[in-house]
Amino acid sequence: MTIIARRLAGHLARGFVMILVVATISFFIVNNIPGDPMAARYEKLIEQGMSPEAAAQNVKVLYGFQPNGTLWQQYTDYMGGLFHLDLGVSVSRPGTPVLDVLMEATKWTILPVLAGTLLSFLVGVILGVYAAIKRKGKLGDALAISGSLLHGVPQYVLAMLLGVIFATLIPILPADGPVDILFEPGFNAAYIGSLIEHAVLPVATYALSAYGGWILAMKSSVVTVLGDDFILAAELRGMKRSIIFRYIARNAILPLFTILALSLGMLLGGAVFIEKIFNYPGLGLLLINSVNDRDYALMGGAFLLITVAVVVANIVADLFYTVIDPRVRSGEGAS
C-alpha cells in the first residue's frame, strides 16, 4: 500500500507541475498577443466613458488579469483565478462563463471518442493476436500492413476520405453537425436516431485511425510473450491450449492497458480534426473557433482542460498498472 501511496504522491506532484506549466504558457500567450487587444479594450472602455477602475475590472474579467499591473501581479492574478476554477468569461459568447461552455462541448467530444477508442481497442487487440500468431502467413502480413497504413495515415485524411465516400459519392451518411435540427431534442426515437446517424462517421474515423496503433502494439506484445520461457514451459507441462492462450493474452495485453488509459486521457484533445471536418461541436472545434475568434479565456480554458485530462489519465494509468501487475505491486518491477 505504501508503494501505491508513494507513487500516487509522485504523480500528483508531477501533474501539478505540468498543469502549472501549461497555465503559464496560456498566460504568456495571452500576455503577448500581438496588437495588445487588452490595452486596446481598456482604452476603448475609457473612451466610452467608463471609469478606469471599472474598465480595468472589465478587462480582468475577460482576460484574467488587469492590464496595468506588474508582470508578477498579473501572473498571480491569473493563477489565482484558475485555482478558483474561475476561467473567465467568453468574448465570443457574451455572458456565458467559460466553464459552462467547456462542459457543454466536452459532452459532445467524450461520447464519440470514447466509443471510437473502445471499438478500435477491441478489434485491434483481437486482430493483433491473430497477426502475431499468423505472422508468417498471408493473413498476418495483410493485418500488419493494414495496421501500418491506417496508423500512418493522418486522421484528417481518413476523415476526408470517409466523408467524400459516404457523404458525397454515396450519400448515405450525414457529415455535418451532431444532429438534424429538424428533430425536437429529447428522448424520442427520431432525435436519438439522428444523433446516432450523425455520430457514425466521426466514430468510424476515430476508430479506424486508432485501430492501426492497437493492432501493431498488440502484435509486437504477443510476439514478445510468445518467446518467453514460461509459455514453452506451460506447453511442456501439457497445459491446455485455451489456458496457454489466456496466459499469452493476459501477459501481452498488460502493457496495452497503460496505453489505453493514456489514450483515454488524450481523447479530449484527440478529435480536433474530426470535429472540424464533420462540424461536430466538441472541445476540439471549440478550441479552433476560440483561436480564430481570439477568445483567449475560452482558448486557455479549453487547453487547460485538455491537459488536465492527460495528467489525470497518466495517474490513473499508473495506478491501474500497479493493481494489475503483481510485480509492480510488490515494488520490484521497473515502471
Binding site: 508531477r14 507541475v17 505540468m18 506549466v21 501549461v22 504558457i25 496560456s26 500567450i29 503577448n32 498577443i33 500581438p34 505472422r135 508468417k136 501500418s148 497504413l149 500512418g152 495515415v153 493522418p154 484528417y156 485524411v157 476526408m160 476520405l161 466523408g163 467524400v164 457523404a167 458525397t168 459519392l169 457529415a175 509486437s220 510476439v223 514478445t224 518467446g227 488524450m266 484533445g269 484527440g270 480536433v272 480534426f273 472540424k276 471536418i277 478550441l287 479552433i288 483561436v291 480564430n292 481570439r294 483567449y296 482558448m299 486557455g300 479549453a302 487547453f303 485538455i306 491537459t307 492527460v310 495528467v311 497518466n314
Partner: protein, 301 residues
C-alpha cells in the same frame, strides 16, 4: 591511426558497418515494396527542390475554368480561382518538405545531443532532462500548436520547422538515451575507456555509428508527425491563407469549394490528399524496412 593501435575495436566497428549495409541490402531486396518507399521519398524531395522552378511565382488563374473537375488540360481540375490543382500541389510541396527538413535537423541535433548527454552523465542531469521530455511528450501537441498559432503566423516554412522541431525532439532523445544506457550496460563504454580512448572518440566513432539507425528511424517518425501537424494546422484554418501549403488547399477545398458536398471540387481535395497518402506510404515502407534491419526479433528467416 587509432585503428592501428586498437585493431580489435576498429575492425569490429568497420565490420559492424559493413554487415549493416549488407543487412540493408538484403532487407530491401527481400521486399521490393521497400525500394518503392525510397523512390517515393526521393521523388518528393526532387519535387520540392526543382518543382516550383517550372511555375511562375504567382500561378495564373483562369477565370473561365473555376472549380472544374479533372480534364486533359488540368489533370486534377482547378481551384475556385481557376488555378491548376496539380501546379498548386507541386509548388506547395516546397513549404511542406522544407519545414520537414528543418524539423528533421532540429530533432536530430537536439535529440541526439541531449540523449547522449543524458545517457552519459546519468544522475541528476538525466533525471531533469527525462522529466522535461516526459512533460513534453504529455502536453497534447496539436492543442498546443493551435494555441501557439495565435502568437506565431508560421508564414515561413523555416519558422514552422523550427517550432515543430523544438516540440518534437523528445522521441529521438529518449531513443538515444536508451541506446547509450544499453551500450553502457554491455560494458561498451567502459571497455573503450579502458583502451584510453577520449570521450569524443567514443561518441563519434563508436556510439554514433551504432546508433545512427535508431536516430534515423525516430527522426523519420518525428518528421512524419511534423508533416501531418503542419498540413493539419493549415487545414484547420487557424493560420493565414497566403502560405502555399497543401493544408491550405485542403481547407479551401472542404470549406470553400465544398468538396464534401459537391463532386466538382473533388479533384481539388483529392490531389493534396493523394500527395499526403503517397508521402505517408513512402515513409511507412522505409520505416518498415528500418524496423526489420534494427529489430532482429522481427526478422524471421
Amino acid at each position: 591511426m587509432s585503428a592501428t593501435l586498437i585493431p580489435e575495436t576498429g575492425s569490429a566497428a568497420a565490420s559492424m558497418r559493413r554487415n549493416f549495409w549488407r543487412g540493408v541490402w538484403r532487407v530491401m531486396r527481400r521486399k521490393p515494396s521497400r525500394m518503392v518507399g525510397v523512390v517515393i521519398i526521393v521523388g518528393f524531395a526532387f519535387m520540392a527542390v526543382f518543382g516550383p522552378m517550372f511555375y511562375p511565382d504567382h500561378l495564373p488563374g483562369d477565370t473561365n475554368a473555376i472549380t472544374k473537375p479533372p480534364s486533359w488540360e488540368h489533370w486534377f481540375g482547378t481551384d475556385p480561382q481557376g488555378r491548376d490543382v496539380l501546379a498548386l500541389v507541386v509548388t506547395g510541396s516546397r513549404y511542406v518538405l522544407l519545414s520537414a527538413a528543418v524539423t528533421a535537423l532540429i530533432t536530430v541535433v537536439l535529440g541526439t545531443g541531449l540523449g547522449l548527454f543524458s545517457g552519459f552523465k546519468r544522475g541528476r542531469w538525466d533525471t531533469v532532462l527525462m522529466r522535461i521530455t516526459d512533460m513534453k511528450l504529455t502536453i497534447p501537441g496539436l492543442p498546443l500548436l493551435l494555441v501557439l498559432a495565435t502568437v506565431w503566423k508560421f508564414g515561413n516554412p523555416v519558422q514552422m520547422g523550427l517550432v515543430l522541431g523544438l516540440l518534437g525532439w523528445g522521441g529521438v532523445a529518449r531513443a538515444v538515451r536508451a541506446q547509450t544506457l544499453s551500450l553502457r550496460e554491455r560494458g561498451f563504454i567502459e571497455a573503450a575507456r579502458g583502451l584510453g580512448l577520449s570521450t569524443s572518440h567514443i561518441i563519434g566513432k563508436e556510439l554514433l555509428p551504432s546508433m545512427a539507425p535508431y536516430i534515423a528511424m525516430n527522426m523519420l517518425i518525428a518528421v512524419t508527425g511534423a508533416v501531418y501537424a503542419q498540413v493539419g494546422l493549415f487545414f484547420l484554418g487557424v493560420l493565414p491563407y497566403e502560405s502555399n501549403n497543401w493544408g491550405v488547399m485542403l481547407n479551401l477545398a472542404v470549406f470553400q469549394a465544398g468538396a464534401m458536398i459537391t463532386p466538382y471540387a473533388l479533384g481539388y481535395l483529392l490531389c493534396p490528399l493523394l500527395a499526403i497518402l503517397l508521402l505517408t506510404l513512402g515513409i511507412v515502407l522505409v520505416v518498415d524496412a528500418m524496423d526489420e534491419i534494427f529489430n532482429p526479433r522481427l526478422r524471421e528467416e
